[in-house]
């Protein structure tokens, strides 16, 4: 499962993995803003960002191809807008949309693949993100996985009786979505009960205490510096 793979990657021990989550989040935000402001004529800069992010993937000892593939999850959405741009007679704009979407997704996947989910939340907390938002995020993450697991279990059950079940057939199954949410709700409730039974009162306690070291600052500068420099050179 994709989420299990990301979790597995996030528990690595590379230099990037060991950095303060706030440093990684800040670096990722700077990269994302730089990518988002690229213009269609900046394809050389986009290529340089691709090389830079690939090098970072390698230095974090992550599987390059798999990380690149994980980032393609956003392409179907980007393709819709790219096709619209093509239809409007601006193919270069369409290509830029795809490039920006994929590079942004690659940056996000890299952040998640080098930072565990609790550490990511701890990093956002240290950056003074609203606590309510963080709680929503941590539950969204946990229950999204429940929804994915339940959908997988239902698909397997249907496939075992019908031979194969494609996405379209699964969608056609009457009431499948309702059943899915019903099952997911039941499991989510069981998880919440298990958490409450062990003293959960609204916030998952942090297991690790982070301190910002000079190496974290060096990491931030090493990532953000070249990216920002490239962006300014491009104009």
């Amino acid at each position: 499962m994709r989420h299990a793979r990301l979790e597995l990657w996030s528990r690595g021990t590379s230099f990037a993995h060991r950095r303060h989550p706030a440093a990684k989040i800040t670096a990722a935000l700077i990269v994302l803003v730089s990518i988002a402001t690229l213009r269609p004529v900046h394809w050389r800069v986009a290529l340089a960002y691709f090389v830079f992010l690939t090098a970072m993937t390698a230095s974090a000892r992550l599987p390059i191809l798999r990380v690149h593939l994980a980032a393609t999850a956003v392409l179907p959405f980007a393709l819709v807008f790219a096709v619209l741009s093509l239809a409007a007679g601006t193919p270069e704009r369409g290509l830029a949309i795809i490039a920006r979407a994929w590079l942004s997704a690659l940056t996000t996947v890299l952040l998640m693949a080098t930072t565990t989910q609790p550490d990511l939340l701890a990093g956002l907390e240290s950056l003074h993100a609203p606590r309510f938002l963080l709680q929503v995020m941590q539950f969204l993450y946990r229950y999204l996985l429940v929804l994915v697991e339940e959908a997988g279990a239902m698909r397997d059950a249907a496939a075992s009786r019908a031979g194969t079940v494609g996405v379209l057939e699964f969608r056609r199954a009457a009431g499948a979505a309702g059943v899915l949410f019903g099952r997911a709700w039941t499991r989510a409730n069981a998880i919440h009960q298990a958490m409450a039974a062990r003293g959960f009162t609204g916030q998952i306690p942090r297991f690790r205490v982070f301190r910002f070291h000079p190496a974290d600052l060096a990491f931030l500068v090493a990532v953000a510096g070249p990216v920002v420099a490239l962006r300014f050179i491009a104009g």
Partner: protein, 228 residues
């Protein structure tokens, strides 16, 4: 020995009007082990969820170690009563076994170092200290159950409530779990359909039927009487 659980005239009605418990009286002495037997839907799990305040009585009282289950005592009661759920996948929600076991001590206000020490000790008790860095979904069903139990033991509970603990376990896993539980000094309530498991651990059993306890006695006597 003093009473660790005292339940008086417990009634519980679900929101849809279903009467799940209809006047349950129950006591358990510290250190004793009892098996809750009875058909599916007879109220065993609903009863268990009252013991650490996950459900509140529609009528009646639940007292744990001389503390009535109320909002005022909820935190203390949840430290005294460890619930081990049927499906360990629902219970284990942190990225590693160690972090999961440390969850309750951290929630109780211990520092990360203190919580880690508690968690390592609990993992050692269940023979899982070597797997502390593993993600829960990389463990076998038996290992998950052990980590789930460690997650409860880390709070130093006085009562363990185990809901269908042998579900998903193969026979060696079931025997291993029984051996582990028999070494733990806490009082235990076992909700189970597994009679060899109940016989191995419990000195007596209560039989639930339609939201009531209809019999209590030695395990073999109850099993024979209800042809269970």
């Amino acid at each position: 020995m003093s009473l660790i659980v005292e339940v008086r005239d417990l009634h519980y009605v679900f929101e849809d009007g279903t009467e799940a418990l209809r006047g349950v009286d129950f006591t358990l002495r510290a250190g004793a082990t009892v098996a809750l037997l009875g058909p599916n839907g007879s109220g065993k799990t609903t009863f268990a969820l009252h013991l650490n305040g996950l459900l509140r009585p529609s009528r009646g009282t639940v007292t744990i170690d001389d503390m009535e289950v109320t909002d005022q005592h909820l935190r203390a009661i949840r430290r005294k009563v460890g619930l081990v759920f049927q499906d360990s996948d629902n219970q284990l929600f942190m990225p590693t076994a160690l972090e999961d076991v440390a969850f309750a001590p951290l929630a109780a206000g211990l520092t990360p170092d203190e919580a880690a020490a508690k968690a390592i000790e609990a993992l050692r008790l269940v023979g899982m200290e070597q797997k502390s860095g593993k993600a829960p979904w990389h463990l076998s069903s038996g290992e998950k159950k052990r980590v789930a139990i460690a997650g409860i033991l880390a709070s130093d509970p006085k009562l363990l409530v185990l809901d269908e603990p042998t579900t998903f376990l193969d026979p060696p896993g079931q025997r291993s779990l029984a051996a582990l539980l028999s070494t733990l000094p806490q009082a235990k309530i076992l909700i189970t359909h597994d009679m060899p498991f109940a016989r191995a651990l419990a000195t007596e059993a209560v039989f639930f039927q339609s939201g009531r306890i209809v019999a209590r006695g030695p395990v073999d006597e109850i099993v024979e009487r209800f042809e269970w």
